[in-house]
């Protein structure tokens, strides 16, 4: 009974659906307002695409299948639906064309606060150059941005979310077979994960640290030229760049002649900090051992190691103060001012300015010494507590002796 009723209802429904557009609205497309509109023709066959699409931001702004794929969304059969300017599944170049139809139009992008220069940028990039000659390895828009579930880069599910970017690039750049013809290494992702920048992003959630696109750019992705390295790093490491420029290495670092910019001492993807104990050793990569330059390196190393040692002693002193139940706010304040000087040592050493370095090291040592002194005073007072043990045990032993004599008499 029920099934018969359902069948009849279905037939009637389909008949109504088929006949409706034919009655009078043949030429004008139906205004589609909602992604879950049941009369939207594409969904008759492509229901599963809808599920992915409604999750994305395009659906939210009223973009529909036919806006990218063309065809006639009002038709309910395959042939009329796929007629006209129908794109279907676009190839790589077509994809760029489809996306840039809207995304290169500043008038359309303005309302969403989006730039409209991605296409122009892509054409300047290595990826774009390869795409234009029909290379199938080069990524098109939809390789990094999911074409149906398109999400803004602020969405943690997006492939362009800061923590996801390295893996997104790594999808191709860790593929040995794909990278081999271009002579590119595939260890960048692994190196980046271990790097100072990588740890800042993954462990500290510090999205100010650069992922791949921070240095290479996203749509205009290219490795920085040798002469550009110091500028790229200097965008964030402003004080280091200034210090470097003021010193003897400055000129050659900025032009890339002789010196490979920052990467002469720090690797590009690994971006490791050079430990204080390894400063002099790093100098010997270019300078001969025992010459004047390496001697300066040794002096810097000694100062940096000393300063580090002072900072550690200060931390230990503050910990001791705290454990002894002392107020640590004053010592903590002093420590922070020492930290400011200490951090400057890291940037100033790039300019090899020995006078300034000596000055900083002296400041660090004098501030931390005063912290240590207050901890020593507290420790001395604690040690004096032990003097109480003398009368205490004298009393206890005297009582024991007296009791012993009294018991012997009993």
């Amino acid at each position: 009974m029920t099934s018969a009723f359902t069948r009849v209802a279905l037939v009637v429904g389909v008949l109504v659906a088929i006949t409706q557009p034919a009655q009078g609205q043949e030429t004008q497309p139906v205004p589609v307002t909602r992604a879950d509109e049941t009369s939207y023709g594409c969904l008759v066959c492509h229901a599963e695409k809808r599920r992915a699409f409604v999750e994305g931001v395009h659906s939210e702004w009223g973009i529909r299948c036919h806006d990218c794929h063309g065809g006639n969304p009002v038709a309910l059969e395959v042939e009329p639906a796929h007629a006209g300017e129908y794109v279907g599944a676009p190839d790589k170049l077509q994809t760029v064309a489809v996306c840039s139809k809207c995304h290169s139009d500043p008038d359309q992008m303005r309302q969403y606060g989006l730039p409209a220069d991605q296409f122009t940028e892509l054409r300047t990039s290595r990826h774009g150059q390869l795409l234009e000659v029909g290379n199938q390895d080069a990524p098109t828009c939809s390789d990094c941005h999911d074409p149906h579930t398109t999400l803004p880069s602020t969405d943690a599910r997006s492939a362009t979310f800061p923590t996801n970017i390295p893996e997104t690039c790594g999808r191709c750049h860790t593929d040995a077979a794909m990278m081999e013809p271009y002579g590119l290494a595939i260890d960048q992702l692994e190196e980046f994960r271990r790097s100072t920048h990588g740890r800042a992003i993954y462990e500290d959630g510090n999205f100010a640290a650069p992922s791949c696109i921070g240095c290479h750019g996203s749509h205009a992705a290219l490795p920085p030229g040798v002469g550009e390295i110091a500028n790229v790093c200097g965008r964030c490491h402003i004080d280091v760049r200034q210090s470097m420029a003021s010193g003897p290495h400055g000129g050659s670092a900025e032009t890339g002649n002789v010196l490979l910019g920052c990467t002469a001492c720090h690797t590009n993807h690994g971006t490791e900090t050079v430990d204080s104990e390894l400063i002099a050793e790093t100098c010997t990569r270019c300078h001969a051992e025992g010459d004047r330059a390496t001697m300066i390196g040794e002096q810097i190393e000694e100062m940096a190691v000393q300063a580090e040692h002072h900072m550690e002693s200060a931390r230990e002193a503050i910990r001791e103060l705290g454990e002894a139940g002392r107020q640590t706010s004053d010592a903590g304040f002093l420590y922070r001012s020492a930290l400011t000087e200490f951090r400057q040592i890291a940037s100033v050493q790039h300019g090899l300015n020995m006078e300034q370095l000596t000055d900083l090291e002296l400041k660090v040592s004098s501030i931390t010494k005063s912290i240590e002194a207050s901890a020593e005073v507290a420790a001395e007072e604690r040690w004096e507590h032990r003097l109480l043990l003398i009368p205490l045990w004298f009393f206890a032993l005297s009582v024991a002796v007296l009791a012993h004599f009294r018991l012997r008499r009993a």
């Binding site: 390895d137 074409p147 997104t168 999808r171």
Partner: protein
């Protein structure tokens, strides 16, 4: 008036002459000067003499001292605790600074605080030793069953004293040890949540918890302890020390001077030992408590925390359950072991239970203090991390097969050109 003063002085002189027996007792009797008049209506002097002259069985020796040691440690705790409340302030804002003040500013505050801390640990050890002696000597047998259970109640009171007192410094260790403990309580089926809620007075350890722990620690528990101690002592005096049945009247060693001298020596040595431990190994003050950051490690400073840490470290939560079952089994021993024999060979189950419990206690204490003295409290459970992890990125759905164009190699060549 002059006559009355003369008469009073005469009385004093008479009392002094009467009480002028040499030795320590005589020196103490000087107080008789003060209660000479009272003594006529309340026979303090007489009852004191009577009680001091009573005799104890000859088998009473040093191993009977643990109960007394625990009692004296309790006295140290009461005195130092009362003095600490002069400075301590039980509020979230002031608790930590007041501890800082006690340890670094208040005269001998450090000594009071660390003696309190050390006595709190030693009293558990003394009680365990006392309980072990009673168990192995069979001294819990009828008619002393009630005394055994009152003693157990006292042990429980001491444990609750420790739990409530551990929170009061309001530093990170105190806070998080209590947080761990109360969330452990929450795991108990059916009643756990309710009990934990009652203990904390809040969903997390907060000012409400501090207030009620302080109230329990300084008002409720001391009265409870005094009541139970009085009952314990009354029962002991009523039944006499175990084994006194075999001692005929008039035999054995007199309480004064033999036992009193020993009590004085033990007490003075206890003060010296607790003071030494306090001066040499003070409890460090942790960082101020914050519910937002778990510390990297929890440093245990109380013997029962050490034991719990060892159990959790090696056996997991099953260890706690096994230990609790063992304690309950030993606690109920007097109900099952009703034969009068006190020889250990005639009650092997009790012997084995006792050895396992007390040897296990010592082992867990030592091991817990060495190995698990620090608990890695900073580890977030993997499930929690998984729950918060960013979901994996959707794979690209774009189908590249449809497109045309040159292959990779060709493209490279073109670019190179």
């Amino acid at each position: 008036m002059r006559e009355r003063i003369a008469a009073w002085l005469g009385n004093v002189g008479k009392g002094a002459k009467q009480n002028a027996d040499p030795g320590l007792l005589g020196a103490l009797r000087v107080f008789g000067l003060l209660y000479g008049r009272i003594d006529r209506t309340v026979p303090i002097d007489q009852s004191l003499r009577q009680s001091w002259s009573r005799r104890l069985p000859a088998n009473v020796d040093w191993k009977h001292a643990f109960g007394g040691i625990a009692y004296f440690l309790f006295m140290i705790l009461v005195v130092s605790g009362v003095l600490l409340t002069f400075y301590y302030r039980p509020s979230v804002d002031e608790a930590y600074p007041s501890i800082q003040f006690i340890v670094s500013e208040a005269p001998f505050g450090w000594l009071l605080r660390d003696m309190h801390v050390w006595a709190a640990s030693l009293i558990v050890v003394a009680l365990a030793a006392h309980m072990a002696r009673i168990l192995f000597a069979g001294a819990y047998k009828s008619p002393r069953v009630t005394s055994w259970f009152v003693g157990l109640a006292l042990f429980a009171v001491v444990v609750v004293f420790g739990v409530t007192g551990y929170l009061l410094p309001w530093d990170q260790w105190a806070y998080w040890a209590t947080a761990e403990f109360t969330s452990g309580i929450e795991q108990i089926p059916l009643i756990g949540g309710m009990v934990a809620m009652f203990m904390r007075g809040d969903r997390i350890v907060s000012s409400a918890t501090l207030s009620r722990f302080f109230a329990l620690h300084v008002i409720v528990l001391p009265w409870l302890a005094f009541g139970l101690i009085s009952l314990h002592f009354v029962i002991i005096r009523g039944h006499g020390i175990a084994g006194s049945e075999q001692t005929p009247d008039g035999e054995g060693t007199p309480f004064y001077p033999n036992h009193l001298m020993r009590i004085i020596v033990v007490s003075v040595f206890l003060i010296a030992v607790v003071g030494t431990l306090a001066a040499l190994f003070p409890r460090p003050v942790g960082d101020p408590a914050t519910p937002f950051n778990a510390p990297d490690e929890l440093v245990s400073t109380w013997v029962l925390v050490d034991v719990t840490v060892a159990l959790l470290h090696f056996l997991g939560s099953a260890g706690i359950v096994v230990a609790l079952l063992l304690v309950i089994a030993v606690a109920l021993v007097p109900l099952f072991d009703r034969k009068p024999q006190t020889d250990l060979r005639s009650r092997p189950v009790v012997a084995i239970l006792g050895v396992v419990l007390f040897a296990g206690f010592i082992l867990a204490w030592v091991v817990g203090h060495q190995v698990g003295a620090t608990v890695d409290a900073g580890t977030i459970p993997q499930e929690l991390l998984d729950e918060r992890a960013v979901p994996p990125m959707p794979a690209p759905t774009f189908d590249v097969e449809a497109g045309g164009g040159a292959s990779g190699e060709e493209a490279t060549e073109e670019v190179v050109e």
